[in-house]
């Protein structure tokens, strides 16, 4: 038994640890220091300014809007990607003739470059674009929107595009989870008189928890770190309506406010860590094994 536990000696982690330290840990620690300074493009001397950058973050209207948008985006995409992902996985786990084709179709958007997605969706989402025309054609005129140019809905539109793109990836993980559940449980449940809904709640969900956990973590972290979807679809506009933390960091660096940019980055890092680690611990405890 001892052999299986120590199949590889601990020093095997050194190469990876070294790379990780040089390219991630050290810059992160240096970044932490710079986020407390007034490091700017036009300053020759970098001064320590305490919490000033963080005070700026929480008093700047645009930064608060960006935080709000990031949270909306994260919540909407976590719910959307996971609910749709489970639904698709269950659907495509059934015995369908076109099962493999459909799996490939639903998975394919997640391997596309975000730039391609932007080129496809930007014209579709115009006021006189395909989506609005389709809605009009089927008599749903009241639902037509200025998808990417109305400040009140733009972040939701971007979230929807992101869900469309990534749901296939979540689906693949759920499919793997579903296939690891033994058919015996369902058989036994059917004999005991359980319907499909009861089987889902009492067998599928608990045994799918490891997959749900990993997907929740992935989508949550991805959602909080959102950048490319917003950058390519709207650039944070119109005005600042769809700014998220990621695009605000870019703006801060562009303005030459390197200290402030680093501070926002530190805040994002801390936020993601503080939300995801407790969540991970909490969810691990609830996992069951067969």
């Amino acid at each position: 038994m001892k052999i299986s536990k120590r199949l590889y000696p601990y020093y095997m982690i050194w190469p990876a640890f070294l790379v990780y330290s040089v390219f991630f840990v050290v810059p992160a620690i240096i970044g932490l220091y710079y986020s407390f300074t007034d490091w700017r493009l036009d300053r020759e001397v970098i001064r320590f300014i305490g919490w000033d950058n963080f005070r700026t973050i929480f008093t700047d209207e645009t930064l608060i809007l960006a935080l709000k948008n990031t949270i909306i985006f994260a919540i909407v995409t976590v719910i959307g990607k996971n609910l749709l992902g489970i639904a698709l996985a269950i659907g495509l786990n059934m015995k369908l003739k076109t099962r493999n084709l459909l799996r490939a179709v639903f998975y394919s958007p997640s391997i596309l470059s975000i730039l391609v997605i932007s080129i496809v969706f930007t014209p579709m989402l115009r006021t006189e674009g395909m989506i609005n025309r389709m809605l009009s054609a089927i008599g749903l005129d009241p639902l037509t929107q200025a998808w990417l140019t109305d400040p009140s809905i733009v972040i939701w539109t971007i979230a929807a595009v992101s869900i469309w793109q990534h749901v296939g990836f979540q689906m693949a993980i759920y499919l793997a989870g579903l296939q690891s559940i033994s058919k015996d449980y369902y058989e036994a449940a059917t004999i005991d008189g359980a319907g499909p809904w009861r089987s889902f709640i009492n067998i599928t969900l608990p045994l799918l928890l490891p997959a749900i956990n990993i997907n929740l973590m992935l989508t949550l972290i991805g959602g909080l770190k959102v950048f490319s979807e917003v950058f390519v679809l709207t650039g944070g506009g119109p005005g600042n309506a769809s700014q998220v933390v990621g695009t605000i960091i870019l703006r801060a660096f562009g303005e030459g406010s390197w200290g402030l940019g680093t501070a926002i980055n530190t805040l994002l890092f801390a936020g993601v860590t503080l939300i995801s680690i407790p969540l991970l611990i909490f969810m691990r405890r609830r996992e069951v094994t067969e």
């Binding site: 095997m12 190469p15 493009l41 036009d42 400040p151 005005g239």
Partner: protein, 434 residues
């Protein structure tokens, strides 16, 4: 067995370490290694944005000629267009500077900390031959090099053929402008193309109109704004100017989806004769003429008030020498070479520039340019746009202007929001009064 594993691990660690260190060191020594390998010859690095790679200064024949004459090779560093500023800021900050940089003088003062990072060129021989030093100067010194003094003009680009067909004359005030729009619209053509997905495009109208208003009615205004003696929001004329641009949109004289349409569609819109006018610079006329010389476009001043002047952009595309350039003498030699009478004349002829050297003659200009020179430049009926006077980044102002059209801000709110941002940016930059 254990010994073997140890060795493998040690080897792997050594490889990773050396790879990461090699990555660092190659960046440092790249420039000097080039030098020594090329016996006697030296190489200077010229950094230029990918979007400017057609610049007359980096024409391959010209660079070859320079190498033949001086035995100095010019190595181009093409920077990705959207990252040019960031890359240059970083290079300058860490002292990894190229020997020559092509950039815009006005943006160099706001983005690249001109005074700290770049060499003053007052004592170069070619400076004495300049006709217009101003376009190359900042803070009272010549900081940059160019053979042209044509700064590019901003106003309303319009289709002359269309105006002629419809029997319209160039409007000289806002009422006339609206009337012209109405007639064009009645003819089934979109009067004004607003590509406001690109926020900067919303700034052409106000940048020229603000500057003209200040020059004619309130000469110290811009100086006062830059010294925090006055605020943007307390100038009622500014809000009125912003409201005018909005009115053009509100009255239906523009493309329908202004926030989805981008600048890169503009040339096509003019080529297809879908639109009659656009608030833009004369570079657009040149771009359209390249595709179809038979279309006649012209430029008139932003008609915010009676008799406005044509907006002049600050000159762009100058060459700069960083203070920390490793081959300062060679870089200066390159400027001398470009400034020589023959080379300058060649570039001026090829690019149809308005020459800035007293001994280099301006060639025959394209029709639209000739008209601008006669009607506006020679009678000095131009005004430098507000952008030319700003010391800080304006992209946030452009976003607020865009927001006005998204319904997020009124004209007054745009100016109030910009006041706050302007205040913060000027304070960060350490400008007196903020």
């Amino acid at each position: 067995m254990n010994n073997l594993k140890n060795r493998i691990a040690a080897c792997l660690a050594a490889i990773t370490l050396s790879v990461s260190l090699a990555a660092c060191s190659s960046g440092n020594s790249g420039g000097s290694a080039d030098n020594s390998s090329n016996s006697g010859a030296s190489t200077i690095e010229l950094a230029i944005s990918k979007s400017s790679q057609d610049s007359a200064f980096v024409d391959q024949e010209l660079l070859d000629e320079f190498e033949k004459q001086t035995n100095i090779r010019v190595n181009l560093q093409l920077l990705p267009a959207e990252q040019t500023t960031t890359v240059l800021q970083t290079k300058l900050a860490v002292g990894e500077t190229p020997d020559i940089v092509q950039y815009n003088l006005a943006s160099a003062t706001t983005d690249l900390n001109l005074e700290r990072n770049f060499e003053i060129l007052d004592n170069e021989a070619w400076v004495s031959r300049l006709q217009n030093k101003e376009v190359l100067s900042a803070y009272g010194h010549v900081y940059s090099f160019h053979v042209s003094q044509d700064t590019g003009m901003q106003g309303v680009v319009y289709n002359k053929d269309m105006f002629e067909e419809l029997g319209l004359s160039v409007p000289t005030n806002f009422e006339e402008f609206l009337a012209v729009c109405e007639q064009i619209k009645a003819a089934g053509i979109t009067p004004v193309f607003m590509p406001f997905k690109d926020a900067w495009a919303a700034n052409v109208w106000p940048a020229a109109a603000f500057a003209d208003y200040a020059a004619k009615n309130d000469p110290t205004l811009i100086e006062d704004l830059n010294a925090n003696r006055r605020n943007w929001a307390e100038i009622p004329a500014f809000a009125d100017i912003l409201k005018q641009q909005y009115e053009v949109y509100e009255k239906g004289y523009t493309n329908a989806d202004i926030l989805s349409d981008s600048y890169d569609m503009a040339v096509g819109k003019f080529l297809n004769k879908e639109v009659a006018m656009m608030f833009m610079g004369d570079w657009l006329i040149e771009n359209v003429a390249e595709k179809d010389p038979s279309i006649h476009l012209g430029l008139f001043p932003i008609p915010y008030a009676e008799g406005a002047s044509l907006g002049a952009s600050p000159l762009g595309g100058q060459l700069f020498i960083p203070k920390k350039a490793k081959h300062m003498a060679e870089a200066k030699k390159f400027l001398d070479f470009l400034a020589s009478k023959e080379m300058a004349q060649e570039m001026v002829n090829e690019q149809s520039y308005v020459s800035n050297f007293s001994d280099v003659t301006t060639p025959e200009l394209p029709e639209y340019k000739q008209e601008i020179v006669e009607k506006y430049i020679t009678p000095q009926n131009t005004v430098l746009t507000t952008d030319a006077h700003m010391l800080v980044d304006r992209s946030e102002l452009y976003r607020y202007l865009q927001d006005q059209f998204a319904g997020g801000k009124t004209a007054e709110e745009v100016l109030q929001a910009w006041d706050e941002k302007f205040d913060q940016l000027m304070k960060d930059k350490g400008i007196a009064g903020f």
